[in-house]
Every structure is written in C-alpha cells, then in structure tokens.
Amino acid sequence: MTAGAGVLSGCENVRHKNTMANVVVVGGGFGGATAAKTLRSLAADLNITLIEPKADYITCPGSNWLFAGLTSLPQLTVDYLALKQRHGIRLVTDSVKSIDRDRRRLRLTSGQDLAYDRLILSPGIAFQWDAISGYTAAMANVFPHAWQAGTQTTLLVRQLQAMPAGGVVLIVAPPDPYRCPPGPYERASMMAYWLKQHNPRAKIIILDPKRGFSKQALFEAGWRQHFRYGTADSLIEWHSLADNPITQLDAQTHTVISDFGDRFRGDVLNIIPAQTAATLASEASLTDKSGWCPVNPQTSQSLFDPYIHVIGDAAHFAPIPKSAFAANSEAKACAIAVYSLLNEQTASTANWLNICYSLITPEHGISVAGIYELDGEHAVAAVREAGGVSQVGSPELPILEADYARSAYQSLVNNSFR
C-alpha cells in the first residue's frame, strides 16, 4: 500500500512539475480547517481549496455549555474569513455530490467540477437512523440528538427549559465508537447544573448501551459532589443497558423501549444515535464494514485510494478518540504528509495528541489526555507512560481545569480557524 502510493505520487509530481499542485480539502470543521491552514504554512505556492456548504461553523465543543447558560450560539460560531484572507485558502461554499476517484475530480452540488492532485476529506459523521426503530431524521426535529451543534442544540435547550417541574430528561447515549466520547456525560452535567437552580426535583436518566464511559470516575465523583448522585433524589442517574440496549422509540408516548421490552418515558428525549463516517465517504467506497474510513495512519491515506487522505471523526484512528482536538492533531500530521508526498520526500514519523476537557459545573473541570504514536506494526498506539485523566486531590485543580477548559476551547478554535 505505502510503496504503491509512493510510486503513484512520483508520477503525479512529474505531471505537475511546472504547475502548482491542487489540494482540495472537503469539510470545514476542525479537521478540514486545520489541514488547509497547516498546509498553507508549509507551502506558500500550493493551490488549496476548502469546500464547505455553510458560511459559518458552529462548534460542537462548547455546545454542551449552552445547557448551563454559560455560552451562546454566536460565541460558538466561527467563519472562514481568516482562512480565506489571512491564509490564502480558496473557499468554495458548496457541497460535494460525488467523487470521481479514477479521474481525481469532484462533482459539486452546484454542478461545478473540480480537479485535485490530493484530496483531504474531513467530512464528519452520519447517523445510523435504523439503529433505533422509529427514530428517523424527521423525528430528530421532535426529539433532538443535538450531536451536530446549531438548531438541534437550541431546540434541546428550549425543551429542557420548558420541562414541567419534576420532569424527566432521557439521554440515550450512543454505542462506541462515536464523536466526543465524554459528550453525553458533560451534557448531563450541564443540564443538571441548570436544573438544580430552576427545576430541582427534575431528573436526568442516561440510558447507555456501554458498560462504562470516558472519565467515568471523575464524572461520578463530580455528580456526587454537586448533584446528589447515588442518592434517591439524585439529579442524574446512569444505567448501563449493555445487554439490553434501547432499540425502539414510541414517539406518541415519549417512550424508548429496550431489546427486552423495558420502557422508559421522558418529558424530554435526547436520543444520540449510533454513528458512521459521513455519507460522502461511504458513497465514495472509502468506508469498510465498520462504517468508518480505514487509513494508513502515518500519512492518513485511505486504504482504498492513495490520493485521498481522510481525517477527523470519519477516519479510523483508534485508539485516538473522535474529538475536535484529535481532528486538529490528525490534520497537522496529514498536512505534513501531504506536503512530503507532493515533494517526493519521506514523511516524518507521525504522532498525535488528544486533550478533552469537560465541565461538570462552571467551576469544576476535568480532562483526559493521550499521546499516540505508531507501534512496530505501524498501527496507532497510545504511549503507555503518558496521558490519562485529571489527578484527584487538591481542591484548586478542578477550578483551574474549568478555566483551562474555556481557555483551551478558545485556543483550539483560534488555532484551527484563524
């Protein structure tokens, strides 16, 4: 695979010896924006095009903070002006209809055709609508997943705030792997923080198809400290339904039903479905039977097409979690690899960093970190001596980590988009 890619990239450079190469980036989230920006910092004369249908991007990171009233959609919104003006990225506000892999051309929804020498795909996720019967794309407008930030999140915030006194919020968590592993639990924390002040007899019930979750010990300690977790009147309950997951929605009665027929009724239903790589990736036959895009991690080249690099949530970089921070890190390694391939150089050894902060309250932050490298088999592996979750002990640490959570968010947005 790698050897083949090297040979092919050689031909390509002969072809473009006297012209500038065209690199097209599809998807203007953290992965795509960072890839375009980093590539520009490496190559001033490269033609870099970013294709993204939205004029503004609302970040998923930070969007759970809306439930606690700590931020607003405008504060979570970034545009692409800096990428365009400061970094000389050609911006095409459009979406990709299809990828002609043989001719290395993209057909856009507007009808425009675009050639690429190398394509970087950062298309994000799609939802598996058939995983919970009755939960369709249309039904998400009634019971929001809020797993892509924007109107979905606003709808869920409004439903939470309008809930009757003593009402129940059901959060149906997704199976692994999915975007933002600590997300459902930070969301429950932020909802509980708001409910504690405005609807203190309410309850959040998390129904989880997993046996455990990211930063579990830290979340549960925080919930005990702030939300009476573990007592009869806890604001949050977590139920593992690993052998009996939710398989059905009865919209009429606001009820979700498990495999064995257990019924859970809620006033507000937040159903976060199982996920795969975005439809664009599967339609271009870049996914395997897992639903995600397998890549050679060293260069992020698709295992099915050496001219296409896949990064971000859509790509299979496990054990690196699917996060905005990880997408940013994958984009940087990818940009260096693309630059090397275009210049017929050997790409330097890749490594990656992931950091995910979560807020339990505005003054209680927790984090998980991981450093990743290639092992002897060229697979991604976590560096064993490094990483892990926040230390427990000093009472100042959660306060400091809450400040750092906000600071890291702003910094990551600036680093990716500005």
Partner: protein
C-alpha cells in the same frame, strides 16, 4: 539465516520504535493548540512566547519527573524521552 543476521533483524525490530525520530515541528504544532501564540485570556493556559529553550526544557523535565505540579502537563511530558523534550523545547523557542 546466519545468527548474526538474525540478531541484526531482531535488533532492528526492537530498536525501530525507540529510535524513530520525532518531528519537533509536528509536536510544536500540537503544543500551540492550547498554548496559543497570542494574548491568553485571564486565568488561561500560559503562553510559550518569549520563553527560552532552556526554560521550556527545564519545565518539561520538571513536569515529566513530577517535580513541578500542574494539571495536564505531567501527563503530556511523560510521553517523551528527555532528549525529545530538549529537541521540542529548542524548536518552540526558535519559532
């Protein structure tokens, strides 16, 4: 296979990950995801701008060996050899 060749192959297999050179540019790009290169908000993550290579290297070693308490950096610094931390510190100070 000759014993010598076999030992060489074994040595190569064992030693490759250890001797694989890190790219300090890539690591530094990841550092500035949090340590942004312009004004940090109040109570934000410290900036690296203006720090000497020696200061950065010493801080990284202190984080790695738990001589200096911090929220996250001890967990990061343990992911690199002392020599890698030196190379990273030098790169950050120069850019």
């Amino acid at each position: 296979m000759q014993l010598k060749q076999r030992l060489t192959a074994l040595w190569l297999m064992w030693s490759l990950p250890v001797f694989a050179e890190i790219n300090p540019q890539l690591v530094a790009l990841n550092c500035v995801s949090c340590h942004q290169d312009h004004a940090a908000p109040e109570r934000g993550i410290p900036l690296l701008v203006g720090l000497s290579a020696q200061t950065i290297q010493q801080d990284l070693l202190d984080f790695k060996y738990d001589r200096k308490s911090a929220t996250l950096m001890p967990r990061i610094a343990k992911g690199f050899s002392d020599d890698e931390l030196r190379v990273i510190a030098e790169y950050i100070a120069q850019h």
